[in-house]
Symmetry: D2
Subunit: 339 residues, 4 copies
């Protein structure tokens, strides 16, 4: 932590800050510059955040943190990328890039089984489908709940695909964990800290979506919540952030891929369906994600998008998905990966 | 719902859209313009959101919703502003403007009781203080939990203030409801829909903070979640949104006040402490909020801000808070209100 | 400038950074912390920005600037607020708050003279009106150009109001300067640096609008461009920034008022018409601006808003403007100011 | 244009809106829905923007435009992608993807010629380098001006590369046009409309960078300004937008690529150097841009980034640029393009 004093701060003020730092258990180390003094606070990193409040003392201009706040999720802990084995040979973080695909919502047994078959035929290895749906309106379809989970399990039995589905509340973690191979935390719950702690106690992979207005740093802190409970199997999923642009539903932030490579050892999956909100843009952004180094894709596919109960506008038809997969294989090969 | 066809859409395509609208239970009404055709879909508003997926049909340019999605929270339902009586004569939405004040976190019995006394002396009528804290880092202080709730209750007994405190998870709603007069839903939980449904079953006022990246429309939909369960006592709280600007921690969006007056009958409280993140800016923005028509203020006050366990940088000293209140009374009088 | 080394940076890398700092003419001052080393660079502030590129050296984590980049515009230069005298007793930055009002565009002599009369009657002292209009579309009305300037001058003659109008290009600075008392730089030109230098050579007040996506710090740097040419009469004008919110055309950022008070001695005017984009919200935000400490208001008023050639949706009728002024006087009095 | 009436608007109000539409020269066409009435305005598209002001009439809820505001730049005008031939066989919009590379600023003859040689060796065909620099601070290096232009011309003579450089003001358009093959409009000048009109009178390719906070729609309107003057050779350049994220200097918005493919026939170039602001992230984002369908790349390369006079942090060394080009060729091949 570095405390930058105001230009013209008095010796008294500088002395007071140094004394306060000592009292908080740290060792002050001042640099007397031409225009102003900067005081480093050296000591144990735990609890350093409290030093931030030194900026309420007279003569202090600002307090600057210099350390990454995440530990378990950080690159400094682990230089190699983590491989997360979700079962049946599906590994996130390795050379092979798994593709998660399926409809926004589970709408019925036929719909989910048909979806599973078409995405499997095109090369996906994980089926997605929501049984619990976080909807902006209380009057929108909220998901089939446990019935939906059972349908996903049946689709898994029939096809051999893994299943990824969202869990929205602590009290459902155990139930969803019984049916799903990967548990998904949605964007709106990225900072639902009690839910994060709860899935941290499972020993199944957690797919953690980035919040609509969360920085990469905050996202990694949410991963840290899960990991601090002992579950190291966190897969990050970029799904678009909120900006002023309205041509896309969200702004899919592919910059997050190289930033994450630099900051963490955890794998990152990209969801261009939610990221763009328009099926026309999904293929191009999926290819871009792979070229940028993504470790997985999540794509919405529906047998009949215009009849979908939710998010039809961003869903691909089976034919378009198959075409995307074919192109994705070529781009993956060009960057030394496989699909 | 209005379906805008592409320029040059064929008769076949226009006909297909009309047939699809009929099949979904609505009545199509086309306008044949000079450059393109627009088709209105007339009928029951429930479930109209599904019509959005018509934009995956050939020849469709875009689908435009024209109705407000909120019903119970909307101005159309109720022309007068709702008065929410929190007890002991504290009413939100009336001529008198209640002030909620206190520390970010409950740190101990002495700290919370001293805080309660100083904010009461300056004119606040509700005590704030977190017993459960949503912290970005799992290593930060997470709150005193039920011990903290008991301390808040004791501070209430000693001072006669009401208590407002945050609830972060469904399983704690009942417990927090036993201790607190007003239950607060934090910004990060604004779209934690299960939590919203849960507090919707209480019959106590809910203070619903706006999410960091949520539009006013989405915020009202979250109020609608609570109201649809039968709890009509929702107090909205603007606390700053995320923008590119870094001079303030968030961008306190006072524009939300006149927008809400136009859209809803629910009262709105403003929190300039979280909104700006710097104590130096709190007073000016509190006065501005009142001038713009806010129905309440929420202000962080700590006996010793630089020793606060959280958010010290944005907390006022008791003296500064007293000065703010004095000025706020004058501005309130100038706009026909009282504090 | 502070250079933060990576955890585990080698002695060689630390030494290389120190040598590079010396070579650039600064004196290195290292702090050896528990987890990492930080190196301060002490010396002449001019040109310190180049030190930023040290972050391309091996072992460097980040380079943090600690000084404000603005000098002439900064509070450190001048503790008191600057008073800018625009003529005929209209002063920005004093106890009295001038109000600039009028239509978006000059549409004709009758329209501008009628507008001038109604805003004067309600208490405005400066007439606004665009003769050169920056329009998003090349097919929209672009302004009456010099004819418009002449009409503004005539309105001034008839009413005794001062005139404020926008200049969009260097080659028109002299001409606009002949007709207008205050020259306005629009939001889209806030970083048109050649234009800034050009108006810096005038000795008339410049009203500098904040760019749609510019930080307060960048805004003050643009003021610095004007001041570095010798023109110290810069009036800042907050007019809304771009965010994700669509309920308002822009997000009027009143937080900028206290931030500017803290950072600069220059006066600040607020434009709630562009800031919100809807006439319904203008009055509340104008009152809020005054309560927050604004030194002036800019309000769009049109005799017949629904016939306006531009921005009719955000223009007040004369009656609504008169009502706003009446309320504004009361709020101004409540915060120790006058209108 | 569609005028949506408020729920409960009176017959009188509906009639008034219809009469006003007639008076403005359009034909009203009402749809009487279950909950509200919508009135279409049919007629000549020119000037329809003025209908927006109908929202100030009593009973009107909102006015919704349904047509794209750009004509010459729009896909509707021209289905095939435009090929822009910049000379010496360099074509933007074709199968082959040109790469523009070089330093941020021209710093001297040796530096620019060495830069030109290294980027040419790696496969670039256009040299970039600023002779006029838009700098946030008036105290930063502002460019070598005409001397810099001469050095660029000399580098062109020695290497056979084309030259792309920025023009910042109308009065310099002719001069820059004498030296440069492609004239660049910077992000800060995207809505400097007089400058756009001025380069619209040239018959040289214009590289138009997207503004920091501009939508794709506004960007195309700025292209329209240039094209409306007769210059159809507009190359769009995505270079990052402003968001809340601080891990990157800007948020490079690759979504713009598929959106532009859908909306316009103009080619699009991507600049990951400004887009991310960190050299570490440039390669991944360059590859992603190609996979997403970019028609060109712009990359900052400096012989010694840590000695660069500007933007050193985002510049690649010659070795890193050569590696990027090698990888880019593979990705281009995978999507049916060439570099």
């Amino acid at each position: 932590m570095l405390v930058v004093m105001q230009r013209g701060a008095s010796k008294q003020e500088i002395g007071d800050v140094e004394r306060e730092i000592v009292q908080m258990g740290y060792q002050p180390h001042p640099i007397y510059g031409v225009e102003r003094t900067v005081i480093g606070a050296i000591g144990d990193e735990r609890g350093k955040a409290r030093l931030q409040a030194l900026d309420t003392l007279p003569g202090v201009e600002q307090v600057i943190p210099i350390l990454k706040p995440y530990k378990l999720a950080g690159r400094e802990l682990r230089k190699d990328k983590t491989h997360i084995d979700a079962g049946r040979g599906v590994v996130f973080g390795g050379k092979k890039i798994p593709v998660i695909a399926g409809p926004c919502s589970v709408e019925g047994l036929d719909q989910i089984c048909l979806s599973a078959q078409v995405v499997k035929d095109a090369g996906a290895t994980v089926l997605r489908g929501g049984a619990y749906k976080p909807r902006t309106s209380p009057y929108s379809f909220q998901g089939l709940a446990e019935e939906g989970l059972k349908m996903l399990a049946e689709a898994r039995n029939r096809t051999g695909l893994l299943v990824d589905t969202e869990v929205m509340k602590e009290s459902a973690v155990e139930l969803v964990g019984q049916y799903s191979d990967i548990l998904q935390i949605g964007a709106r719950n990225m900072q639902n800290f009690d839910l994060l702690k709860s899935v941290g106690q499972l020993r199944k992979p957690i797919l953690l979506k980035r919040g609509l207005a969360n920085t990469v740093s905050e996202w990694l802190m949410s991963a840290e919540y899960i990991m601090a409970q002992g579950n190291m199997q966190v897969i990050l999923c970029e799904r678009g952030i909120r900006t002023f642009e309205t041509a896309t539903r969200n702004t899919l932030d592919l910059n997050a891929i190289p930033v994450l490579k630099h900051e963490t050892h955890l794998p990152v999956v990209v969801d261009p369906s939610h990221g763009t909100g328009h099926w026309e843009y999904v293929e191009d952004m999926a290819l871009a994600a792979i070229a940028a180094g993504a470790d997985g894709l999540m794509i919405e596919v529906h047998p009949n998008p215009h009849e979908a109960w939710s998010d039809g506008s961003q869903s691909l038809t089976p034919e378009r998905f198959a075409r995307l997969m074919e192109k994705a294989r070529k781009v993956a090969a060009a960057v030394g990966r496989e699909i």
